[in-house]
Symmetry: D2
């Protein structure tokens, strides 16, 4: 049960409501976000809401039977728009393109990518400064200094930054330099990290876990929302299966399912999803047709010299061509009556 509270409700009224509903056998979690105040009640699924509907301070009550509540479309039918400022947004009905290298490597590299994005009409740049690596001996990214440099160059160019945060202590130090905090596939169930990202007022892009279910992805998003942050983007990036001809198995089934279950925008990462440069465009365009609100892919001036993920990274010519094809495919999709 989600109880939306009226604005500026005095604490004592919230306490009264909490006590009353607890009295009906519910466990109550209060949630305050940038945009509203809620009481989440976990308990009976057959409760007669008329018993509390008349109480003062309640704006609306929704029975949501899913295990996730606040991210469900069952109470918030209108799609969530992630407004990044400067007329840049991620939302249903639009097509966001996010591109950039796997790792931020140098000032020269950043400048080259930014120039490419500007020429291609792309205003969101992805890149890693903290890199999760399975081996402790591999390159782990330029860190905070790299992020600051990147931020300065991106700001001048009007480009927004999407980058991965790996642990709680990085949130505060990264905060001023990031537009979208990315939670990587190995951290989708790092609940402490999700809790803390609920406390900041920046967008959070959550990648599906390496073998995460669709349900688990939504529950991870519920952590961020219930922590206080409604600005959440979901990302399908391929799952682990027995098939080894591709790096991961891009599960585009997840897109219409996530869009139907949740009001949050959903993006597709074809680079990790297939892991083979030559086939990234086809998977990106498939992602558009599956109903995604955005595509996030890897590009580098010279993919074969990239510090990481070169085998799945497009060069700038391929990237420009793909961005154009994404837009044309999205324009066609908009003419269809798809769910």
């Amino acid at each position: 049960m989600i109880i939306q509270l009226k604005k500026d409700l005095p604490i004592k009224d919230v306490d009264f409501l909490t006590a009353t509903i607890t009295g009906f056998g519910y466990q109550i979690t209060p949630v305050s976000t940038q945009f509203g105040h809620y009481l989440i009640g976990i308990g009976s699924r057959n409760f007669d809401i008329r018993k509390i509907g008349h109480l003062p301070g309640i704006q609306d009550i929704h029975m949501v039977s899913d295990d996730y509540k606040l991210v469900s479309k069952k109470w918030k039918v209108k799609p969530t728009k992630i407004d990044l400022g400067d007329d840049i947004a991620i939302q249903d009905g639009e097509m966001a393109i996010m591109a950039g290298p796997c790792s931020i490597e140098s000032e020269e590299q950043i400048v080259n990518v930014i120039n490419h994005l500007k020429q291609s009409g792309i205003s969101l740049m992805r890149g890693g400064v903290f890199k999760p690596r399975s081996s402790p001996y591999a390159f782990r990214g330029l860190g905070l200094d790299g992020l600051k440099l990147w931020h300065q160059l991106a700001r001048e160019a009007g480009i927004k930054i999407v980058t991965e945060v790996m642990q709680v202590s990085q949130i505060a130090e990264m905060y001023d330099y990031v537009d979208i905090f990315q939670v990587g596939a190995r951290n989708t169930q790092n609940f402490n990290l999700l809790d803390e990202l609920g406390k900041v007022d920046k967008a959070v892009l959550i990648k599906r876990g390496i073998s995460g279910t669709i349900e688990e992805l939504l529950q991870s998003a519920e952590y961020v929302f219930s922590g206080g942050n409604e600005k959440i983007i979901l990302c399908e990036r391929g799952i682990r299966t027995y098939e080894r001809a591709s790096r991961n198995t891009l599960d585009l089934n997840a897109i219409p399912i996530l869009k139907a279950k949740s009001h949050l925008p959903v993006v597709v990462d074809p680079s990790h999803g297939i892991g083979i440069r030559e086939y990234v465009p086809q998977m990106a365009l498939s992602g558009v047709m599956s109903g995604a609100d955005g595509i996030i892919y890897e590009t580098h001036e010279n993919p074969d010299k990239a510090y990481s993920d070169g085998q799945q990274t497009l060069n700038f010519d391929q990237s420009s061509l793909l961005a154009d094809q994404i837009r044309k495919t999205f324009a066609l999709r908009k003419t269809f009556q798809l769910l």
Copy 2:
């Protein structure tokens, strides 16, 4: 190693070639299909083909390092066209649409579907008369009588028939009434069935196994080709993974990979691929953008009353709309320079 032989080569020349190449340490399998004669040599990968290139009777020699040989693009770069007659074909550069019910149920149902297909410009009808069912107590299809009835009605309407063959003994009795023999996902590695389908001159559509790899699908096709039948279509229909929000996990990564590895046409089955009616169109269109040469989906006049698979079956209005969207999406894809 694939050795293409000249036409009408006398048996004694074939024997001489076989003996000579065997002498170089190769195990030779002779293959004769509708379209040519080949010797398949399994042995060293570092053989100097100049040692045999001059021998009489050889048209061409190809070193193919894949475990599958004849279905590989490494020797036959030109895509294979499956010509079904009456100007109906399945081939690279075109978009084949195959639609119909999961099970053939009655004369009335067949007539309804055929009328719908005609109105929608679809000339390939799918349907099952022998149904593999996990429970022995479930409906197993109308059998041969149903097929004969269907065939008569389809012929009159100029519609081609795609239907599943479950065992060797059915091939002969079904032969006159089938245009494309379908091998189901539970039979992808029924090697006896594949062997026997190699001996007929009808197209064979092989579905990927329930948890089959891309490599195994190609090896199953190799059985049919090496058995003597080059008319093969590959079909992605979703694989089994841990995810249960969808019936299967449609692996569209497989499309560009199969198209790159093989000269055979590749089609996508979005109905089994996601298993949820509302999302079949998105997955069909994603399949088109992934590079498929055809889409095969389930439609029924009244899906909720279908004998089987109703939950993933489109009604006729949805089907007409989808066929139109498939064509528009394919038309757009053709303007792109994709692999």
Copy 3:
């Protein structure tokens, strides 16, 4: 619903019962096996069996809510004993050991294996004469001639034969030379083959599918039972997962689950289950502790020269040692109060 019929019931009484129960909304499938006659009713789960319990000819009625019926422990609590004659049996409370090569290769090989088995006190020999191979160019077994030779030598030695049948047409020709027909992991859902194996009076060992569920394995067994053959053995042989450090993932969880759900004996194949010779013994002994009624493993005089599967095959010394360890482990397990 399973209705056990009295012995020698006249056809007209069966017809009367069928009509009566059909009248209550059930779909009836009559089943006649070596050991009894049954009517299987598929329909309401809340039927009051007192409505039919008084009818003449009924020995017993069992409501079985599982999708599989006759193989369920819910109606037949007593474990099924597979009696192969000559005091050789597979059953709960005993430990059957089946060993032998992957492929039957030659008379000399057969003689060597038989001598080894005799010395080790093993009376069941496994081996393949029809080999399912993913490549059409690989060795496919010695076929029927090999089986006849093997049979002659085994009979003289008092050894029983377990070997794979790949297709319907082989059943009749193999019948006289086989003690246990094995259904391979690629044929677990070859329903025609299962149907036909229901018609013979020889034991059938069904391997779990390459990515088959426990439920599907039981339903495949239901095909054989409902076809008329109660002599069924279930076999866990590893499933396909993302892990590649082993050939398959041996799922020993399946053993106690299968034993709890079904009255059929269950055996474990550690050779395919891990696929690495050095670790086959540990997995065999784990299988014993998991509750298996038998172990089936591969042995060969010279594994490195075996035609197939040498990497997972034990030599005779290892095999003798393992057989002894299996017996000691089983003896210890019998002293425990395990389910």
Copy 4:
């Protein structure tokens, strides 16, 4: 390449060695643990170690081709013993039993469990005070206060504590009250957490990831070792597959493989591995036969009233019986010549 350095080597000698080996094209990572100093060289696999073997300060050089180095058995053949003091250890050749509730719930519960463990001769107690939960609204554990209380009671009883640490900031606050830090299956690739656990002098038990490979588990252990902590225990707890009849698929294949690849002790968690109380004992005993050095399972005075995981938790009678069976099975295993 692993270079073991002599004790008390002056910094300038380390610098000289680093510079010299770097000059041969290696990237050097210095590692200092409780027990030794190492230089890890990543570079050519065909280096002639005689070029550096004579240099002063080197105790030994090992070429290790695995992606993990320090946890490999290729350089350290002798199994690692995890000495917890008070004659309690986890090591090859012994059988460690760790038991306790999923969640620490109350003083009464702790006392009951401790009494049970004492009576059963078990000296390692598992339990959670920080609980990772997929839903933000579920019970998340008693936290640090619960740990302090538990620690006081356990110390008095001579019981060692195994409990999960979820984030970096908890390490310091938990340090004084923990004997073994457990890294949960959702944190196996939380590299920051692993890095920090490398800096403490307490044992770390790393659970295999929910869909982690054996290789990834070893690489996660490499993080802890290269961070400075050699006291590492590996734990198989089941992996995620398509099978739903059990909670996870316990992969006992992993045990002999891990034991062969690494010198670290390996334990099995049958409770999470199958997730069904009735079958936990069979899986525990299978784990013993697979070669494990320990078993970790869940027990509670009244499993049906446990705050979490009750369905897979043994009551005290079952636990006592199992502990006895584990010891008997291990005693038998020790008489076998297994790898």
